[in-house]
Structure formats: structure tokens, C-alpha cells
Symmetry: C2
Amino acid sequence: MNTGNGTRLYVNEVATRDGFQMESRFIPTEDKIALVDRLSGLGYAKIEVTSFTSPKAIPALRDGEEVMGRIARRPGVVYTALVPNLRGGERALDSRVDEFNIVMSASETHNLANLRMTREQSFAQLSEVIALARQAKVPVNVSLSCVFGCPMEGEVPLAGVLEWIDRFDVLGVAGITMCDTTGMAYPTQVQQVCASALERFPSLDFTAHFHNTRAMGLVNTVAAVEAGVRRFDMSLGGIGGCPYAPGATGNVATEDVIHMLQCMGYDTGMDLDGLIGAAAQLEELVQHELPAQVSRAGHRLTRHAPPADFSEIVERAKARGEGRKELQA
Amino acid sequence: MNTGNGTRLYVNEVATRDGFQMESRFIPTEDKIALVDRLSGLGYAKIEVTSFTSPKAIPALRDGEEVMGRIARRPGVVYTALVPNLRGGERALDSRVDEFNIVMSASETHNLANLRMTREQSFAQLSEVIALARQAKVPVNVSLSCVFGCPMEGEVPLAGVLEWIDRFDVLGVAGITMCDTTGMAYPTQVQQVCASALERFPSLDFTAHFHNTRAMGLVNTVAAVEAGVRRFDMSLGGIGGCPYAPGATGNVATEDVIHMLQCMGYDTGMDLDGLIGAAAQLEELVQHELPAQVSRAGHRLTRHAPPADFSEIVERAKARGEGRKELQA
């Protein structure tokens, strides 16, 4: 495992989209805007602000236009949104998003279960969305689900994943996010899959998106970095998840990943204390405990006070001396 | 990150000692014995059965003699127990333990806070315990706390850690466990510390002991394996922890670590399904949810059923065809 040596990594926040869409409580629009504005100052390369899905399908994000319209855009931060179809693409363009994030699954069963279309149907629909974006000169990123396995099909062959990437590459997308949608990825697989994709498509920007379902979110991140991936999706507090994996915890937590990468010597550009503060605000918004651990335990060098009777302990220890007889007394 | 390639790793279970001592409910003696007997069949190299500490100090383990005396010992499994002092050593010998596990901290403040002695006082006391064990031809392992940092002092210099290991090596101990007592270790540090220790003391058996406090338990395990460590402490369900790190989660969970190592191609000798079954029993014993994730989410290839209306989804998708007009209808 190599030291980071200042290698620059780029962080995408997904809590406000991937996270909020899973929350049972509607997060007030003002609070969404305030959170995005707070996050904008913490060093992110990209923030997935909202989704232009049908308000009936995802009522939690029915205020996408208002949120996109009222956030304070910080130069250098890419404000992206999920775009499922042409209608969503038009709304996204009206809201002046910096990027379209489009989604389909590498697994036929998962695509049908999640998007209610075959993969070919999704691809046809997304091809139109890509054409719309290109016409408007807005870059497109494809979030490809189930790259490391499908909870219903099992293994997802790498050859098929690479073929879908190739078809999107031909259409001129800017980047691909390799999503471990239900936390099935493991480190040596991550390294193999990511290395294969990066080697075959050197001109695409690859992002990795891990879930911590089976406790491997952080080790998979290191595996992806070692394979050459430089962009990562993370979710503040670890909120979000997938409805098709019962018991699943959510996305890997931004503060946990950043803490580790900073300890290892990577340059993430992120403000860790700022993240921990924002996570406290997020916990108030969602009104439940967050799965993230660093916002609870603090940075590794956070000092804890010794026991209240510490000075007496020290006095008694000194009084005993170091010899055998005193110790047994 | 390398593929395991069948490299043999050895697993020590600590739930019955490090875990149970932290539980507020007294686990009935019969249940402790039944759990150890169940674990004995799952492939462990070692099980830390109990502690011969004063029953007043740790009432949760006041039945150490009875548990050690009544478990069914499986050939090949080392049944160890924590031994704090000469009195504990005599009780451990009476109970025919296979190994003494003795504990001190690499941090002076942590040793005082936890053991109420200076490190020199602990070393003097443990020297007597080691002499007793050697006389009885019972091997001794030293669990050295705070090797990767102290929650009260901060960084713990490697030179000091190596010096303590050297002093125990001179006394003829068989092994050293490098404990990340409050989850301060990070991967590149783990690799450096473990590689240094293994290089300097080639005749000692080194074990790594990680906590998942800051979500790095699994990635630290991989770092230690890559540095050459072959023995690992783990706690079924992830129970146990440390009272001096508020908010800390416990030991790294056996089922989570084994699942990852097996996915990566290491030979752990362990029965993962058996572990998941034993964790369910453990959850009943401790009467609270376990922090482990694989026992909740299952093995990565655990199949989940598609949505209840899946066949209708497929029918409707087929009826739509693949063309543009049908999709927009």
C-alpha cells in the first residue's frame, strides 16, 4: 500500500441527491440550499445537487429547480444533477446545471427493477439525453450501476461492463462512474476492474462510487486509487443507500474517506473539520444518527482527557515504586 | 493490492474475552461455554476464552475457571486467556490454559489510566508472570496497547514500541500483538510499523489487533497482511471496545474481515456461514444489535429477490419495444 505522496484526488458529494432521495422526511428547500452553500466552501470538485426526476417518482427532490436556482455557485465547483430522460434534461438545462449525470445499470435485472426498462431501452433514451446535452455544450457523466455485482443476478461480467462503457464513449460522454450499488465490490476485484477500464478508455474521466454495505468501502477506495482512479463519489455522514439490498448501509461517508486519505498523504483539497461540522448540521436535518464514524469519533489525533482520578492514580503508582515487594503489597 | 493467492492467515477470536468484558449484561456461564464450543468448530487458530482478572474488577468474566474447565477443547485450537498478574497466572495454570495473554500499553498515560501502574511497574509485574509461565512451559503472548497511537497522548513513537517489544523478547515470550486500541491506525502507518517490527524480530509471532473506530479496520488489516503479518485478532459481531474512546465502535468484526479476506483469495481456514450463524446466536446473548455488517447483509453473492411486480415490469418493457417513439409514449 503506497503513501499518497501528495497525489491529487477529486471529491464528489452525493448526499444532497443520492442521500436525500432516500430520506423519509422532506428536507426543506431552504435547508438544502444552505447545506449546498456550506459544502461549496469545503473543497469539493463536484456536488450532485439534485435530481430532475419526476416529482411523483421522487418527491424528496421535487424542488430541484428552486435549489439549483438559488445556490451560490462557487467557481471551480461543478454543480451536477441526475437527469433520467429528455424532460429532465430540459429542466436541467433551464436550471443551468454544469453537468448531466445519467444513470443506467450494467445488470439487466437491476436495470429493469430500478428503471423499469431493459438496458437497451435505457440506452436509447439516454442517447437522446446525451444529444440534448451535447447540443447545449453541457458535459455528461454516466453513473453505471452494479459494475461490481448485482444483488439479483450475482456476478456482472467485466466484458459486459466494458462494452457499455464503450457504447457511451462513442456517444461522446466525458466520464463514467463505476458504481458499487449494493456494496458487492472487494479490493482485488476493484483493482482489476478499474485498471481494465482506465487502460481501455484513457480519455474518459473515471469516478468510483462505493457503498459500505459489507464494511469494505474504505479498502475499496484505496484499491481504486492504486488502480489509478482519481475521482470519488462520497456521501456526507454516509447517508443514502439502495432499496434493493435489505440491511444495506449507505454510501461511503465523506468524512471517513477523507480522514483516511489525508492520513495516508493524499491531497484531497478537502477541509475535514468543515466536513465534520457540516455532518452535525446534516444529522439535525435528517433527524437520525448518521452511519459515518469520524464525525462521531473525531480525527485520529483528537485528544481525550484521562480519567477524572488520574492525578491520584499517578500519586499512588509513584508511592508504590517499581520493586517487586511494593507491587505485591 | 495483491491477490491472496492462498496465503494462509490465522484467526484469533476475542469476543468471549475482549467483547464480553464490555457487556453490561452478565452472559450466563452455560452460554459462554456453548458459544466457545460452537466457535471451536469454525476454523480459528486461537480463542481468547476469558480473563483471570480479579472478579471484582471485571465481574463479567468472574466465571473464568468454570468456562475454561468445561469447554470441549478441539485439537489444533489454542485456548488462551488474559493474565494480569501472578495470582491470575496461578488461576490460569490451574485451568490448563494453552497460552497466557498478558497486557500492557506502549503509552505511559494509557497504561496508568487503564492498569493504574507505570509501564515499568507493569513490566516488573509481567516479568514475574512470564517466569511463572516459562516454568510451567506455557507460551506467553504480549498484547501491547496503543501501538498506533494513544487517545490521551497522541502519536506513540515507533522507537519506543520497538524497545518494549525488545524487552519482552529478551524474556522469551512467543508473540506480540500490536493493538490499535482505540482505532487510531491508518494503512500506511500500519504497513511501516508492522514491517519494522517483523524485520527486527523475525523469531516472534506477530498478531495485529484493529478497531473499526474510524472505519479503517478492514483496510488496516490488508495493510498488515501486505507487511507480512499472518495472525489477526477479531471479534465476532464486532463486539467489545475501549472505555477511553467515547463513541468508539469495537473490535473489527470477524465475519466482516473473513468475508473480505476470502473474497481476496486468502486462506483463513474459516467457515464464513458458520460465523454468520454464530453471530446470530451472539446477538441473542448480548441482546443488542451487533456492529458487524456481513452478518446483516450476507455474503456479497447473497441473492435478493427482484421486486414483487417484476414479471409485470418485464412484460411492460417488452411491450414498449426499443424504439424512440414507443419510449416517449
